[in-house]
């Protein structure tokens, strides 16, 4: 039995999973592209060229140009930045809310648990997309509002996960021991229980990034997400729909980018799940 820290063991198991590694590579690639966007982008994403509107892919414009003659590849590179930002901030918000509410519900039980779990049930009743649409349209459709609203409507899964972990752990000896030693509730929750609940939260957050990216692209596609001229994969697709009969490249490439990105996060998440919990391996 090889020894090492949990992180080392997880990594050892993770790297044998080819699909998960492929996902990790794609995610890493997108990070690099987003950070280096000004360096790797072949053109200025907002530079109009009204004489070069809707040109099909060529050596100068590898993925063609859009309805204003802007370079599609450049807009997609900057769009990757947006996806990444929305994915991580939205999931960060959702995870934070889910952890706090789930921990409170699982640790205190009783009426605290009852109230929080009813709130979860109620939030799950709303078609999430309806709720998101309503809030964003009533506020301003901006990238920050999108992140906040996606976060506020997607914390329920994490809350349930953390609650379940806490319910299973809170009567174990190490918790009683901590309590006998005089640890406060706050200390027990965050120092003793939370680390044990982090593995499933990490998996669900990774899968959550994929979901947030899909939601953002759908909102932007409908015109209530990221607003032009800021490029996002979703709003390039809106132009694709408007020019569907003449410019296939506007529809095909941004969609492929979303598909590959979401797929990569899902594979990464599934890989993490298996690596963190070896019992799941068939």
């Amino acid at each position: 039995m090889p020894s090492g820290t949990l992180a080392q063991e997880t990594w050892r198991r993770f790297k044998t999973n080819k699909l998960a590694m492929a996902g990790a590579v794609v995610v890493l690639f997108l990070f690099v592209i987003s950070i280096l966007a000004p360096l790797v982008s072949p053109h200025d994403p907002n530079q109009f060229h009204l004489k070069r509107v809707l040109e099909s892919p060529s050596w100068d414009h590898l993925l063609g140009t859009d309805e204003l003659g802007r370079d599609v590849l450049a807009r997609m590179i900057y769009g990757a930045q947006i996806s990444l930002k929305v994915g991580f901030v939205a999931v960060g918000i959702a995870t934070l809310i889910g952890i706090v509410l789930g921990a409170l519900a699982g640790y205190y039980s009783g009426w605290v648990d009852a109230v929080i779990m009813r709130l979860v049930d109620i939030m799950l009743c709303f078609p999430a997309f309806f709720l998101i649409l309503a809030v964003i349209a009533l506020l301003e459709p901006s990238i920050w509002n999108i992140m906040i609203v996606i976060g506020l409507t997607s914390w329920m899964g994490v809350a349930r996960l953390v609650r379940a972990e806490f319910m299973g752990l809170k009567n174990r000896e190490f918790v009683s021991a901590a309590r006998v030693l005089g640890a406060s509730d706050y200390r027990i929750i965050f120092r003793h229980l939370m680390p044990n609940a982090m593995a499933p939260v990490l998996v669900s957050a990774t899968l959550g990034v994929a979901g947030a990216i899909l939601t953002e692209s759908a909102l932007s596609f409908l015109g209530i997400g990221v607003q032009p001229p800021t490029p996002s994969w979703g709003n390039i697709l809106t132009a694709g729909k408007d020019n569907i009969e003449v410019a296939w490249w506007l529809s095909v490439f941004p969609g492929l980018a979303i598909l590959v990105t979401v797929l990569a996060y899902n594979l990464l998440g599934e890989g993490l799940r298996e690596a963190l919990d070896p019992r799941l391996r068939e």
Binding site: I122, L124, C125, P127, F130, I244, E245, S251
Partner: protein
């Protein structure tokens, strides 16, 4: 069974109240008053008229009074009148759109069941085979594909390139001149792409779920027993295993209701289908507050009903639930 139903209905009351409270809060979070947009655009509106309007809608009262008044009207199914120029009751507007959305969602649920269940069984009975791996790939792609993008691609392929299927609306422009048979065929043709698109996401989820259920059930002792007493493999799988693996699927169908209704916004605006999703989207874009509030409440209540139906069906097929 009646006791179970009664208990289930009782637990729905706090949920219903919570739904109305959240819908109300969401709308009133927005800066400005709901009447602002309708009135600011009209230069003829004076300050007095505006105040009169606010009194008419009760907007001058404190929030908890407004909420209570709104609840009292909801109790008699009065969702107020739309801010749109037609000014019709919200309930009527939603009522005429709802059947379209529900029909499409029921059709896509049927499609999901018809495809995902055999797919799940086939991959579970041949785990790690080429077929199983191909299904897994399909499932992962299905999870990751943006439905609106898939809709665009299918529109390009079947609508524009092959010219096989119509890509917008529910009927053709010459619908009224067609015979009854051709009218039915026309409707079917218009429904194919929307139903396919709205089913696609659920298809992936359901077949993966079905596979996991089947694998779980096949490991049980009673399956070994069935095999040991010499039953044909076909009987073991399709009679003994399938029945047990199907039960959790009912719950999943109930849980998929909010996703289907939410998803209707996307495919209905792409295919120009006059359903609830499109109405809600238009209401949101024109800040039609009564319509948005009504849409939120009705969308959530539909989910609640979907879950209730799923739980009841579950209680019918699995007697253990009723006793608990």
């Amino acid at each position: 069974m009646f006791f179970y139903l009664f208990k289930r209905l009782l637990t729905m009351i706090p949920l219903l109240l919570g739904i109305t409270l959240i819908s109300f809060t969401v709308i009133h979070l927005a800066p400005g008053k709901p009447t602002d947009l309708a009135l600011d655009l009209n230069p003829a509106v004076t300050k007095e008229v505006k105040e009169k309007m606010e009194r008419l809608y009760g907007l001058d009262k404190p929030l908890h009074v407004q909420y209570w008044n709104w609840l009292k009207r909801l109790a008699v199914l009065d969702f107020g009148n739309s801010f749109a120029t037609d000014g019709r009751p919200v309930l009527d507007k939603i009522g005429e759109r709802l059947p379209i959305t529900i029909t499409i969602n029921l059709l896509s649920m049927a499609l999901i069941m018809a495809v995902a269940i055999p797919l799940g069984i086939a991959s579970a009975t041949r785990p790690h085979s080429l077929f199983d791996q191909a299904t897994t790939v399909f499932v992962f792609v299905g999870f990751a594909i943006p439905t609106f993008w898939l809709a665009l691609l299918l529109m390009i392929l079947f609508g524009l390139e092959l010219n096989w299927l119509p890509i917008s609306g529910l009927t053709s422009y010459n619908y009224d001149q067609l015979g009854p048979f051709m009218q039915a065929w026309d409707r079917v043709q218009h429904l194919i792409l929307p139903v396919l698109i709205s089913a696609f996401g659920g298809l992936a989820g359901m077949s993966r779920y079905m596979r996991a259920n089947m694998l779980e059930v096949i490991r049980q002792d009673y399956i070994t027993t069935a095999r040991a007493k010499g039953l044909k493999e076909r009987v073991v799988i399709y009679k003994h295993a399938l029945r047990n693996a199907l039960m959790p699927v009912i719950t999943l169908l109930g849980l998929s209701v909010p996703g289907l209704i939410g998803g209707s916004v996307i495919f209905e605006s792409i295919f120009a289908i006059p359903g609830l999703g499109q109405l809600f989207y238009q209401g949101v874009m024109s800040r039609d507050y009564p319509l948005v509030m009504g849409g939120l409440v009705i969308g959530a209540v539909l989910t609640l009903l979907g879950n209730l139906l799923a739980d009841l069906s579950y209680a019918i097929v699995d007697p253990r639930i009723r006793v608990k």
